[in-house]
Structure formats: structure tokens, C-alpha cells
């Protein structure tokens, strides 16, 4: 699906509030984006933006930073006080970098650099829209599942004990059974996993517990996002000109910087081992002697970059996963597969098991 169609798909049930004091840009944004979203409202400064927010209750807020009456930072802070999980995207100029940390502290999801690039704007909106869309679907699904499960248990209970149990008691018991059932099932699956699980909110709580780590890590999150975007540029360059020694060196450097940032976090130690494997593989590649076929196989780097980028966003920006360790094993196996494909060696693999 193209970017335009994807944004239409995910945006058409969502609402957007645009806060921008440049009237011309504001109007342009409204015109362009109204074909993607269910409803759009706009405001010309932070004060008006906040008022509109309270009545309109949009899914996404897109805001400028420097504005009269109330600036974008103050407005975002006020909005986050009303609804902590509000998705806010900030339009920022290079000169605004001094506000970045303050904004990250408030919990801003995404930054879009000015002057605006249409594709980048749509891409950033898509990422946020996609996330809200799935969250809504996920909530809906679990509510329905839970309701169904309660109904089934109620039905079973009614059949076996219909003459003996008062309704009130039954209800009470049903909810208890339900809790036990849900808990037991999740324990079964979790305890079998070869790695322990930790969800995003626990992880972020851990980091924030230690004030020193958290103060330095806030800057690191901005750095991680910047590195991810640089990595993306290098991947684009590979598509254009193939993998050159220069691009390889830059990518290795980026991966090493990821590793350096993660090295302050115990939870990322295995991820760091896996990233080291990737850096070492790339470093050892004798690029000048690679055949055309081998260059083609290296295209998989683009997807590895995607997986790492999504991981960073999921863990540090959206902070929304049931398991922060979800990628490491899978990334390691992808790297092994890439190595084998490029170098033409045999994969040591397990037998296929059909039950």
C-alpha cells in the first residue's frame, strides 16, 4: 500500500487538531490533511488550541512551537495534564532544538522538522495514526473477548447450579473465575518462554527510578531517533548506489552508537550482543570483492533497519509493548540468515517438526 493509501486507511476514523500561527501554512495543512482524516479543526495559537482541544477531543494534535499568547510547549503541557496519553506531534525548526528535551519530558511522540516535507509529514502522521488505530482495535478486541468469556462461564454455571445459586453470588463468583482463568492462561504461556518478559511501562518505570540514568537517557532518546533517521538515509543511499565502503562505515558507526547508548541499560544487554554481531559482520565484509548477487542479498539490510527502527519507536517513543525483549532473538536469527545468504554458507537449522 502506498503512503497516501495507508494514511487514508488508518486516518479515516481519526480526528486531528492543527495549531499553527502561520495562517497560510495552517490553511494549507487543513486542506491537504482533510482528505486523510475523519475530522479536522484548527487554531492559530496555543490558547485557542487548548480551548479547541477541550471541546473537540482530537485523536492527534499537530502543533507549532513558537506562537503568540501561549506557545506549543505550554499548550502541550496543559493538554498532557488533561490526558496523559494524548498523541501530539510537534512541528519544529532547527532553532527549536533547545526545546526538545523539555518536550520529550512532557511526553511528546514525534517531531517533524520545518521546512515541511510532504512525505515526511505524512509518514510521521501515519506512524501515530497507525498506533492509535491498533490501540483502539486492540482495546475493542479484548473487551469483546472478555465479555464473551464471562458469558460462557455464566452460561456453564447457570446450567450446573441454576437452582442453588443466587444471582448476586453467581456474578461475584464468575468474575473471580474469570480472573483466575485469565491469569492462569497468561502464566502458562509466559512461563514457557525462554526469556523473561517485561512490558514497556515497567521498563520506563525502571529507568525513571534512577534519576541520574533518566536525566542522561532523555538526551539519548533524542539521539536514538536521530541515529535511526541517519541509518534510514544510508539505506536510501544503498538503494541508489549499492553498498559502498563509505556507507558501510557510517552504518557500523551508527550501530556502535546504539550500543554505546544501550550500554547504560542492563535490559538492553542482549540487544547489544546482537547489534555487535551485526556491526562485526558488516565490518568484516570485503565490499570490493562482492558479486552482484551478493549485493542483492544485502538488500535485507533495509528490512533489518526497519525492524530496528520499529523496535526503537515501540520501546522508547510509543512505550507500548507487552515485551521489550521481543526483537532480540528474532533479529539475531535474521542476521544469521543474512550472513549465510551473503556468504553462501549453510544454515545450521533444526528439523521441521509436524505434530
Amino acid at each position: 500500500m502506498s503512503l497516501i493509501n495507508e494514511l487514508k486507511y488508518f486516518g479515516n476514523s481519526l480526528s486531528l487538531l492543527i495549531v499553527e500561527d502561520d495562517e497560510e501554512l495552517n490553511q494549507e495543512l487543513v486542506e491537504i490533511l482533510s482528505s486523510f482524516f475523519d475530522s479536522i479543526e484548527f487554531a492559530l495559537d496555543g490558547q485557542e488550541g487548548l480551548e479547541k482541544y477541550k471541546t473537540f477531543k482530537p485523536d492527534i494534535v499537530l502543533t507549532d512551537i513558537t506562537m503568540p499568547n501561549m506557545n506549543g510547549i505550554k499548550m502541550s503541557q496543559e493538554i498532557k495534564n488533561i490526558y496523559r496519553k494524548q498523541s501530539i506531534l510537534v512541528l519544529s525548526a532547527h532553532s527549536d532544538t533547545k526545546f526538545m528535551i523539555e518536550l520529550i519530558d512532557i511526553g511528546i511522540n514525534q517531531f517533524i522538522l520545518k521546512p515541511l516535507d510532504g512525505n515526511n509529514l505524512m509518514y510521521k502522521l501515519l506512524k501515530v495514526a497507525e498506533n492509535i488505530f491498533y490501540k483502539k482495535e486492540f482495546d475493542k478486541f479484548y473487551k469483546e473477548e472478555k465479555k464473551k468469556r464471562i458469558e460462557t462461564i455464566q452460561k456453564e454455571n447457570q446450567i450446573s447450579e441454576k437452582n442453588t445459586v443466587e444471582n448476586e453470588v453467581l456474578e461475584n463468583r464468575t468474575s473471580k473465575i474469570n480472573e483466575v482463568v485469565v491469569e492462569k492462561e497468561s502464566i502458562d504461556i509466559d512461563s514457557l518462554s525462554e526469556h523473561t518478559k517485561k512490558d514497556s511501562s515497567d521498563f520506563m518505570e525502571d529507568i525513571q527510578k534512577d534519576d541520574l540514568i533518566w536525566q542522561t537517557f532523555k538526551d539519548d532518546i533524542t539521539e536514538l531517533m536521530q541515529l535511526s533517521s541517519d541509518f534510514g538515509e544510508d539505506i536510501d543511499n544503498i538503494t541508489l548506489s549499492g553498498l559502498t565502503g563509505e556507507i558501510r562505515d557510517r552504518i557500523v558507526q551508527i550501530i556502535r552508537e546504539y550500543i554505546l547508548i544501550f550500554s547504560t541499560l542492563d535490559q538492553m544487554s542482549r540487544m547489544n550482543d546482537v547489534l555487535s554481531q551485526l556491526a562485526e559482520f558488516l565490518e568484516e565484509l570485503d565490499i570490493d570483492s562482492l558479486s552482484e548477487e551478493q549485493h542483492k542479498k544485502l538488500k535485507i539490510l533495509e528490512f533489518i533497519h526497519n525492524d530496528i527502527g520499529r523496535f526503537l519507536q515501540t520501546i522508547f517513543v510509543y512505550q507500548d509493548t507487552i515485551d521489550i525483549y521481543y526483537l532480540e532473538d528474532s533479529l539475531e536469527s535474521s542476521i544469521v540468515q543474512m550472513k549465510n545468504n551473503v556468504l553462501g554458507t549453510q544454515i545450521e537449522e533444526e528439523e521441521l517438526e509436524l505434530f
Partner: protein
Amino acid sequence: MAKQVIFVDDSKTILMGVEMALEALIDSGDIVFNQYSNPVELLEAVQSGSVTYDLLFTDINMPEMNGLELAKTLKAISSIKSKPILALTTENSPEMKQQGKSIGIAGWVVKPFSDEKIVMAVKKVLGI
């Protein structure tokens, strides 16, 4: 008629890898290949009736939902509960496999995998 095969994996690398491995079966019209990087999206599509499959491969550790939970939920949907589901995962413990088996998973493919193994799994399960 071409068989519908769906892969669910959060990793784009894996999804691209399997698509390339299955190229011959796709080109010959034996199978139609579909991929989902979010299990919740697949569930929604199956529940609404807009998507069905003859064979499903699922990862286990995914950011939004565990693959065994996904399989269990799909196995409760009457229209597709008889369709085979295989795990494609780095998880390799006998206990995990046993758990998978008990909720109706039909087979287990451990990552990393060769192209041949994926092709063999698809052919064997679909009988083509």
C-alpha cells in the same frame, strides 16, 4: 485453486525472507502469499470475515500479542478452526512446543531457517 498462505511476524526481515523463499510457489500459482506484521490486525480481519487462509505461520514473541494467544483465539473461530497453524519462531523448548501442540498448532519451524525448509513445510502441510 491457489491456497492462501499467511505469515504473521513483527519482523519485516523475516517476512521478506519467506516471501523470497516461496517465490516459485507464488509464481506457479500454487499459493497466494499474504503477510501481517501486527497479529491484532490479522485477528480483526479474520473476525470481520474479510480474510481467510488455508495455512498460517505465526511468530511467537511479538510486541502486541503472543503468537500462542493468537493461535488459540483463531482456533476458536469456527470458520477457520480446522485450518493448520504453524509456529515460525526462535523459541525452541519442548515445553513451549507441547503448549503449542495442546492448543492445536500443527507444526514448528525454528528460526533461523533455510529457504528449503519453509518450502518443504508449506508443501507438506498443504499437500502440494
